[in-house]
């Protein structure tokens, strides 16, 4: 309970922890998946595993858009940007993700024009400020971010911007959850549902998980109390043999989602027939591509991309860790060849990746404890 005093409202957190202990049947082993990388980060950062009883296991889900993108897509993006007329623009967390020839940052060091933007609309500004160059924006993210890319494409069209395109790598959360549930080696009792994806898609898209798969799912906020309360709600449902969608994050997530955001996405995007995910393989209808009505701003239509399938380095076990089959520390490269300072795979690069989270909050703690024991 060492972190509890630092939290806001420690009494409520203690109450939630007590309720969890009361509800968790001692003879039962609970496997709850938090889908979203933001929740993974929060769980490690707040030391929530220490607050939970031993028989509640939190499994990390695939909700980290940087982590699930196969290396080949990074290579494709960088290939397009090899033309000296092209400016490669992306969010900060893309910059250190490894491709086979290095990360965008490493390409920058070798002379490629690589720029960080903090908003897709700033990629448009970049294009307007550099009329003699072509700005290619590498778009990633789940449904939280896709609407912003959609509005940006609509703006590019209304401006008639000729020197701008987007390389679209947006993925959708529901097919990933379905793939997890269809996986034979994955036995789960319930889900802590994504917080910010749900502000866009609402809570309805999760109803099949409860109705068909008979698993409860609670959409959760990101504070320690939110996550603990969500676990209380899951355990209550499991105790009563129920399976429903519940919304713990009501203060931010509307049940119906954001209609304007969904409309923008429908205007600009359509589903790809299939898309490859690290760890989960090819999943049908799980990613967005730009509609032909916006073809002029679709980097995949303007440029020739190799479209090579690239597997991760042989020794790296990113796929298995992503699927939840291995814990981060069980990967042979973890903590040795692969650390946040020199990452081999995307799960160590992103702050939402479970390897980075585990390394920064758990691994260091264990190392300290081991050193203390060794010197005693």
């Amino acid at each position: 309970m060492r972190f509890v005093d630092e939290f806001r409202e420690p009494e409520l957190i203690n109450k939630a922890a007590d309720e969890i202990r009361r509800l968790a049947v001692p003879s039962r082993h609970y496997r709850l998946m938090e889908v979203c990388g933001g929740h993974t980060h929060a769980i490690y950062r707040f030391g929530l595993k220490d607050i939970l009883p031993e028989n509640i296991e939190l499994i990390h889900g695939p909700g980290c858009p940087v982590c699930v993108l196969p290396m080949g897509r990074i290579d494709d993006g960088l290939t397009m940007a090899q033309d000296p007329d092209v400016i490669f623009a992306a969010f900060g967390d893309m910059m250190r993700v490894p491709g086979t020839q290095g990360s965008p940052l490493e390409h920058k060091a070798r002379g490629m024009d690589v720029r960080i933007v903090y908003s897709p609309s700033d990629a448009i500004k970049l294009a307007q400020a550099n009329p003699d160059r072509h700005v290619m924006f590498f778009a990633i993210g789940f449904e939280t971010t896709a609407p912003s890319t959609a509005l940006t494409l609509m703006r590019a069209k209304s401006l008639g911007l000729g020197n701008f395109s987007i390389f679209c790598n947006h993925v959708t959360i529901i097919p990933a959850i379905r793939a997890i549930l269809d996986s034979p080696d994955m036995r789960l009792d319930g889900f802590v549902g994504p917080g910010h994806v749900s502000t866009v898609i609402g809570c309805r898209p999760y109803e099949w998980i409860a109705a068909n798969e008979k698993k409860p799912i609670v959409v959760s906020g990101f504070e320690p109390l939110d996550i603990l309360q969500s676990i209380v709600m899951l355990l209550r449902q499991l105790k009563n043999g129920k399976a429903r969608v519940e919304n713990q994050y009501k203060r931010v997530v509307p049940w119906e989602g954001n209609r304007a955001a969904l409309a923008a996405m429908a205007e600009v995007f359509q589903l790809r027939p299939y898309f490859e995910w690290r760890g989960l393989g090819f999943i049908s209808q799980s990613a967005l591509r730009i509609r032909d009505t916006y073809a002029e701003w679709d980097a995949e239509q303007r440029f020739n991309i190799p479209g090579l399938r690239v597997t991760d380095p042989k020794a790296a076990q990113c796929g298995e860790v992503l699927k939840g089959v291995l814990k981060p520390a069980q990967c042979k490269l973890f903590g040795a060849e692969c650390t946040p300072e020199h990452p081999i795979g995307a799960l160590m690069v992103s702050s939402e990746g479970c390897c980075a989270a585990f390394y920064n909050y758990e691994h260091r703690k264990t190392a300290v404890v081991t050193n203390i024991n060794a010197s005693a």
Binding site: H41, Y118, T145, T199, V200, E223, V252
Partner: protein, 98 residues
């Protein structure tokens, strides 16, 4: 990546309905209101911002709590870096891009 940054609307632009000037921890930048078309915020409202777009309206209390959560997550600096980076890092005072 999933950073949702709370900010206060300090100015709206009559000639640009989909932009607002937002203040986060003393830093002022323009954000896009296009996703809140159906529930437009007014001056003084608080919003949650993600990659330069306002995603939802929230109460002032929730905004303060969210700042606290970001700080607890160790992401306050990243959040401020993101806000400062909006508009390619330009200070307000530049005319809206039309």
């Amino acid at each position: 990546m999933c950073l949702a940054i709370p900010g206060k609307i300090v100015e709206l632009f009559p000639e640009e309905r989909n932009l607002a000037l937002v203040e986060v921890a003393g830093v002022r930048r323009r954000v896009d209101l296009g996703l809140l078309e159906e529930d437009r915020p007014v001056k003084g409202d608080w919003v949650l911002i993600h990659v330069g777009f306002a995603m939802s309206k929230i109460s002032e209390q929730d905004a303060l709590d969210q700042m606290n959560t970001l700080a607890m997550l160790g992401e306050a600096e990243a959040a401020l870096q993101e806000i400062r980076g909006y508009g390619l890092g330009q200070e307000d005072g530049d005319p809206p891009v039309s």
